[in-house]
């Protein structure tokens, strides 16, 4: 379609304004109603979580509490039950995100800045690695950790978790780095700076937002990860909240659904907050633009 034809089409479309706009408004309302129904279906399971956490006598049903109380929250807020597992989650997630960030920045720099025969095959391998179902390799990883005597080691678990998200992180990081113009570094090179000092002094400050996105993205994934620490961390004092919540309520769940819900909410709040930061800071389709569209 030519540019000249467009305005005339627009005015044609607006000419019979009355009936079209009424039909459009009706379509709009229909879409609203359909969406609200779908949204209600998505909210229902979460509603139970919120109501049960405020109800000391909660069961599986969704019901308004007889009396709203924060007793469930008070009951789970003990060092052994909540704070130590949350601290373990924190160490695990922050460690994973930090390892990820360092390795991904270092790897993305040459991939983004220099042409080499090595780049394309490497990037395709990375993409391929993002497809590996991590659940599938947990049994072999356990076997490998037994042989290497790494079982129940927090650092080893951190390095493993960092590796599982590393392909995605490198991919996103390279896209963010590609967006920083190369001309600024060329000026630094002319002044005699090495490429790594140019990376540190010029590129990284310019892609602060991208670094934040990758860090939060990895942190959220690590925080919510259940299966990896469930398999690799055996002793209770090292387990993150995801695992401790499962083992505690696996034993006591039948009597303490309210506490389970309260624990779940306290454990979820950090990632919900981080997600809001992520969605606000980056554009609306935040990580997907880096992850899916390439």
């Amino acid at each position: 379609m030519t540019a000249a034809a467009r305005p005339s089409l627009r005015t044609q479309g607006q000419a019979p304004a009355g009936p079209t706009s009424r039909a459009q408004r009706r379509a709009k309302t229909a879409a609203d109603v359909a969406l609200l129904l779908i949204g209600a279906c998505f909210v229902l399971p979460l509603l139970w979580l919120v109501l049960a956490s405020l109800d000391t006598g909660a069961g599986h049903q969704t019901q308004l509490p007889h009396e709203v109380s924060l007793d469930n929250f008070a009951a789970v807020m003990t060092p052994g039950l909540l704070f130590r597992p949350l601290w373990n989650s924190m160490v695990l997630s922050a460690g994973t995100a930090a390892v990820n960030l360092v390795a991904a920045v270092l790897a993305a720099y040459p991939l983004s800045r220099y042409q080499s025969r090595f780049n394309r095959p490497f990037l395709y391998t990375i993409l391929f690695a993002t497809c590996l179902p991590i659940t599938a390799i947990m049994v072999p990883v356990y076997g490998m950790f037994v042989q290497l005597k790494l079982l129940d080691s927090v650092p080893a678990t951190i390095f493993f978790m960092a590796t599982t998200t590393l392909p995605m992180a490198i991919w996103m990081m390279k896209n963010f780095m590609d967006a920083v113009p190369v001309s600024l570094e060329e000026a630094a090179w002319v002044d005699g700076a090495s490429s790594l000092s140019a990376l540190w002094a010029i590129v990284l400050p310019l892609m602060r937002q991208g670094l934040g996105v990758v860090f939060i993205f990895v942190f959220i994934q690590a925080w919510g990860n259940f299966f990896v620490p469930f398999v690799l961390l055996l002793s209770e004092e090292r387990q993150p909240a995801a695992v401790s919540i499962f083992s505690f309520f696996g034993q006591h769940g039948a009597v303490a659904y309210g506490q389970l819900a309260a624990f779940s909410i306290l454990y979820s709040v950090p990632v919900l907050a981080l997600y809001v930061i992520l969605a606000k800071g980056a554009s609306s389709s935040f990580a997907l633009s880096g992850a899916v569209k390439g």
């Binding site: 399971p45 391929f128 390799i137 072999p140 076997g143 001309s183 390439g294």
Partner: protein, 305 residues
Amino acid sequence: MTVLRPRAASPTLRTQPRVRRWVRLLPVGPAVVLLLVFLAGPVLWAFHASFTNAALTGRNARSPGWVGLENYGRLLADPVLPLSLALTVLFVGGSAILGQNILGLVIAVLMRRARRGVLALVGTAVVAAWVLPEIVAAFAAYAYFSRDGTLNQLLGGIGLGQPDWLYSFPMVALMLANIWRGTAFSMLVYRAALNDVPAEVTEAALMDGASGWQRLAFITLPMIRGSIATNLMLITLQTLAVFTLIWVMTAGGPSNASTTLPVLAYQEAFKFGDIGYGTAVASVLILIGLVFGAAYVRLLRDTKP
């Protein structure tokens, strides 16, 4: 993908000695080491260990013996394997390819017509189920589908039967739960894709008298087919790997009625202590993942030369 296009103004155009070229690639080193040790390592170890009788405890844990193809022979004879494969296909097909994909597209299309407030509200609800830690989502879904849970409250409210979903229809409950948990991803992909469809194209079709459905089927969908293929591939791989949701809701039961491949591999390795056999099951899953991964990479390479 656009990022793979060679950069026009690259500093490499200056001639460099061969050594220098390798030095510049050094920073990739840590990432390569991590990927080799913790991803390639376990995959290779899996194929190796599946030929041994490695066990969780006892003598075979310390020094596993070579048993050749015995584990795979057992696997082929095991009546649980075909069941498990079928359940995995059902789970992926029903909850990802049909459920998440179509519902995600429907939500994204509806959102283009809806009012701004509704859009934000529903978007938040859908994304919330996705952002929550998986164990929390699994607990919420467990409570929702349990005998006296919310779903049966609703069904009872309109006078319908109240089956014990997790016991009588475990796969139905699991598939619905996975649709609830994962649709946000497809929704986000399709919202981004629909935003990239130029308005002139649909406007032109509107002028030619095409109805809403016709525009969607003949104009919009063909234009975003790249995103559809990418999305299908990614949600298939994600759903293939789902473990926590199933483990919390049904633990593979009752009597293997919801034992998908990841659950089967875990049970054989850790519940029955047979690492070698569990690894053989995991190897099958890894192979399926590798095939899909290769297809995905090809797809991306072919759509954008």
